[in-house]
């Protein structure tokens, strides 16, 4: 996967994850192109598009569009499943997630994504493992009183 974008129906960007180094200006252009193309699609259209040499897979969940750019050899259908899995993870974490949750807690959305994907590939195929890892990291964040160098694995055993 080359990139993953989340944007609203008005074209406002809510999350952007880039898996290859791209100059800032080009990132902006890609975002513009994606939002234009995807927002122009009719409601019951196919979820796959072609853009330059990439396959674009997008899915709309309520007021948010989840859009990712794939290389030619990647499987579009499994990418749809992957987008769905990410939404499920967000839903589990926030409880009935909506766009506002992602706006006001964008850094958490990134943390969840970073437990699910790494370098553009899926790193964990089990929902429970990902959720547990996020919870553990969150707890670690709360623990401010542990002195530096504490073996935290004794406090929070790894899954």
């Amino acid at each position: 996967m080359r990139f993953l974008l989340l944007f609203s129906r008005q074209g406002k960007l809510r999350l952007q994850k880039w898996f290859t180094p791209i100059p800032e200006r080009e990132k902006k252009k890609i975002v513009r192109d994606m939002t234009t193309m995807v927002l122009a699609r009719k409601p019951r259209s196919c979820n796959f598009l072609h853009w330059k040499d990439l396959k674009i897979v997008y899915k709309r969940y309520a007021s948010l569009y989840f859009c990712c750019g794939l290389d030619a050899e990647e499987n579009e259908l499994i990418a749809l499943e992957m987008l769905h899995r990410y939404v499920e993870l967000l839903d589990k974490y926030f409880g009935n997630v909506c766009e506002l949750d992602i706006i006001f807690n964008f850094e958490k959305a990134y943390f969840i994504l970073d437990e699910f994907l790494l370098g553009g590939e899926i790193q964990e195929t089990s929902k429970q493992v990902v959720s547990r890892a996020i919870e553990a990291s969150d707890m670690l964040q709360e623990v401010r009183c542990c002195p530096v160098g504490t073996d935290l694995r004794s406090v929070f055993p790894s899954s």
Binding site: C46, F48, L77, Q141
Partner: protein
């Protein structure tokens, strides 16, 4: 107020801004505050300030002043600060920034941190934005983590290794052993990472690919386990056990089995099993089946398996889910060349998809339909394509029309069908056709001699209905000009004839001439057509004369030139008018006038060709006068000698060339280009004529005629040329020469003479005449000059 509330407070304020200007103001203030905070010493709010900055960055505002803060936060011992620092690094830093190098050390330290969550942060950041240098530095660390850590870290290390291999392919060798051993893991996350890593290694290094072919049995076992296993709640998606892992394994198997019989054999059974047992009612199952089909088609699978795969794609075509129909068609497109017959079986469904609402599906269906056109299905498929054209989205029209024309040209069952099809396309989508369509169609019409009457009737009807489609109007004008007499006759076998008067026809042409919708090229066509009609109609020549003289003062230079020349044809050269405006010969597809993109110019060139073809440039000036008499004596009519002197511009008997029309003064203009008689015996005459000549070759046509009372049959011509000359004989027009000069046989010969040797040719003629077989050889030492 806890700092994180302030972040959310800021977000709320920004969202509350009513205008872009207001938003910019708020953001400028916040950024100033953040910058000030960054400069201060550590006050416990750094992570939140950076988070605020990252939000601002996502809105599109510059945030580069936060880069150093990211570096500082990454180095902090506190987890919450590290977390935001790494996030900031992934968002604000990329390998092109200098600051990214500064975090290499922090990453190195964090890779060996006590806490796996800190290690995870470092691994994630390295995999996201690690530069080649950083990767080289840290590769040994990653390799260590691949071998000796818990599964949580192993899976991340594996994907980090993938990134490193992408950045620095040479390091692939470092990770190969570890990758191999990871396949023994039970943890799905680690397995998935291992498969991705092995895929990457094999794609980049053919030797590694060879090595990993040995693990095909192991991969097959893992897949079998997944497919046959019972319900596993942790990995189950819609009844499929870990579809993500299954898809990755299938993809790796594809790479390993490609071009290798042993590996392909080893996975054959498994693929059959997956193909038959996977439930495709939901996307997850379909994804696995899709990947299976791709793998089957790409490896050396046995034919039964291939048929199974194509049938799966056929089933997908009938699926309600649009996505599945779409990917089915993209897959069929990939295999339509190699497994053409298998795909043909699903033609009906594919053609139905042309009517789908979705633009992507329509486009795929169109590509596939065009690829499936064959001589067998051309009629029915063309009906569907024409139906599609009438309702297809505008962005697909040009592609559809050119696809239809290509298909028609290759597989047209009859000329009438071909002409009908092209006319249909022009009427439906004439504005979206290529420029060459007009001359192509005209050429097609001239060759279909029996259909001239039919064509001109159809085109006349189209013209009086609608003159807005330029391509159609141009062809219609040309036809009416050429075959207007057939139109006026009012009888036609193939279609209902129109009853028109000469005035009606001239009205139609004049409408085109005067309409603002007509392009200059179209008006040129109309004017020339009007002029041609002057020799085909009887009563209204004066009307044509007046039209032509009016346009002599037209502002459009092209039209003016034409009108002036035609005027001259009326006035000074009226005696030549009939010959000049005679019926055109069949246009040869390869003639230069034809390849001229601008159709109006092309036709004009052909007209000028007619005028100049009587200019003979003899090669040897010696006995030219006698030869000329011979060459032009085809019809036996006397040639006035005064005119003769004008026709030879060569050194011996030249007069001032003057303008083109002067050269033809007094000559009996016959349409046949000069030909040399090379053989005459038993009533069989063979003539040779040069069609075109270049420095390194020429095209000649041999024409055989028969003046005996019986038909000549089994005519064959063979030719031999000097060694360095290349000869290509085109198919003859037939092998029977009708008796009494009622018909002839022609054969075109192409000669390529790259070494420019003197061209000689020996021709052997074989034929049967009145029961006897005759065979003769002729030597040709000199060739006549070309027609023009």
């Amino acid at each position: 107020m806890s700092p994180s509330v302030r972040l959310q407070e800021m977000i709320r304020v920004i969202r509350g801004a009513r205008t872009q200007g207001e938003e910019r103001g708020v953001i400028q203030r916040e950024c100033a505050a953040i910058r000030a905070q960054f400069r201060q010493a550590d006050n416990g709010t750094r992570s939140h300030n950076l988070a605020k900055l990252l939000y601002v960055h996502m809105l599109g505002y510059p945030a580069h002043f936060g880069q150093m803060e990211c570096v500082r936060l990454i180095a902090s011992p506190r987890y919450n600060e590290k977390r935001v620092g790494y996030l900031g690094a992934m968002m604000l830093l990329d390998e092109k920034q200098d600051a990214s190098l500064l975090i290499t050390n922090s990453i190195k330290n964090d890779l060996s941190h006590n806490s796996q969550y800190v290690q995870s942060l470092a691994l994630c950041t390295l995999a996201c934005m690690g530069s080649a240098e950083m990767c080289r530095d840290l590769a040994p660390e990653i390799d260590r983590l691949l071998r000796a850590s818990n599964s949580y870290i192993k899976k991340k290390a594996a994907l980090c290794a993938v990134h490193i291999v992408r950045k620095v392919p040479d390091l692939g060798e470092l990770f190969t052993p570890a990758a191999r051993s990871l396949l023994c893991e039970k943890n799905h996350g680690v397995l998935h990472g291992a498969v991705v890593l092995i895929t990457e290694l094999c794609e980049r290094n053919p030797d590694t690919l060879e090595q990993f072919r040995k693990v095909v049995p192991e991969l097959v076992q893992i897949m079998k386990g997944l497919v046959m296993s019972g319900y596993s709640p942790e990995h189950n998606v819609a009844g499929i056990s870990d579809p993500f892992l299954q898809v990755r394994i299938l993809r790796l198997l594809r790479i390993l089995g490609r071009n290798n019989d042993t590996a392909s054999d080893a996975m054959n059974d498994l693929l059959a099993q997956v193909a038959t047992n996977t439930d495709s009612s939901k996307t997850a199952g379909s994804a696995v089946l899709y990947e299976t089909v791709l793998t089957v088609m790409d490896i050396k699978s046995e034919s039964g398996l291939r048929v199974l795969a194509v049938n799966i794609l056929g089933r997908f075509l009938l699926n309600n889910d649009r996505n599945i129909r779409y990917i089915s068609m993209t897959s069929l497109q990939k295999i339509v060349q190699t497994d053409h017959n298998a795909v043909q079986r699903h033609r009906g469904t594919i053609v139905d998809c042309l009517k789908d609402q979705d633009a992507s599906v329509k486009r795929r269906a169109l590509e596939l339909s065009l690829a499936l056109v064959s001589a067998v299905n051309i009629r029915s498929l063309m009906k569907e394509l024409l139906l599609f054209l009438s309702s297809c989205p505008p962005e697909l029209r040009a592609h559809t029309t050119s696809g239809i024309f290509n298909a028609a040209e290759r597989y047209a069952p009859s000329q009438r069908w071909h002409i009908d099809t092209i006319l249909h396309v022009l009427t439906t989508a004439g504005g979206d056709v290529r420029d060459e369509t007009v001359p192509n169609l005209i050429q097609l019409i001239t060759t279909a001699t029996e259909l001239h009457c039919y064509t001109v009737h159809k085109l006349y009807r189209a013209l009086i209905t609608d003159i807005s489609v330029q391509s159609l109007v141009q062809v219609a004008c040309w036809c009416i000009g050429e075959y207007g007499d057939l139109l006026l006759r009012g009888e036609c076998e193939e279609t209902e004839p129109v009853q028109v008067t000469e005035d009606d026809v001239l009205d139609a042409l004049e409408t085109v001439l005067q309409s603002h919708m007509s392009s200059p090229a179209t008006r040129g066509f109309a004017l020339t057509a009007t002029m041609k009609l002057s020799t085909r109609i009887t009563h209204n020549v004066d009307r044509i004369r007046s039209i032509v003289s009016i346009y002599g003062s037209c502002i459009d230079v092209e039209l003016q030139q034409r009108a002036v020349e035609y005027n001259a044809l009326f006035k000074k050269y009226d005696h030549m008018r009939a010959a000049v405006l005679e019926r055109m010969p069949v246009i040869d597809k390869s003639s230069p006038g034809h390849t001229n993109g601008e159709s109006a110019g092309g036709i004009k060139e052909l007209e000028q060709t007619k005028l100049t073809q009587e200019v003979v440039l003899p090669k040897d000036p010696g006995n030219q006068v006698c030869d000329l008499l011979d060459l032009l004596g085809g019809s036996g009519e006397p040639v006035p000698s005064s005119g003769l002197s004008h026709t030879v511009p060569g050194p011996a008997t030249s007069t001032s060339g003057g303008d083109l029309l002067d050269l033809l003064g007094g000559l009996d203009v016959s349409p046949a280009p000069p030909s040399v008689k090379v053989y005459e015996k038993n009533g069989v005459t063979l003539k040779l004529q040069t069609d075109s000549q270049t420095d390194t070759g020429m095209t000649i046509t041999l024409t055989a005629t028969n003046s005996t009372d019986g038909d000549i049959t089994s005519l064959t011509l063979q030719a031999a040329v000097p060694k360095s000359v290349q000869l290509q004989m085109k198919a003859p027009s037939g092998d029977v020469i009708p008796a009494r000069g009622l018909g002839l046989v022609t054969q075109t010969v192409l000669l390529n003479n790259p070494n420019k040797v003197s061209l000689k040719m020996r021709v052997r003629v074989c034929y049967s005449s009145q029961g006897a077989v005759c065979q003769d050889t002729v030597q040709i030492d000199s060739f006549p000059s070309p027609a023009w």
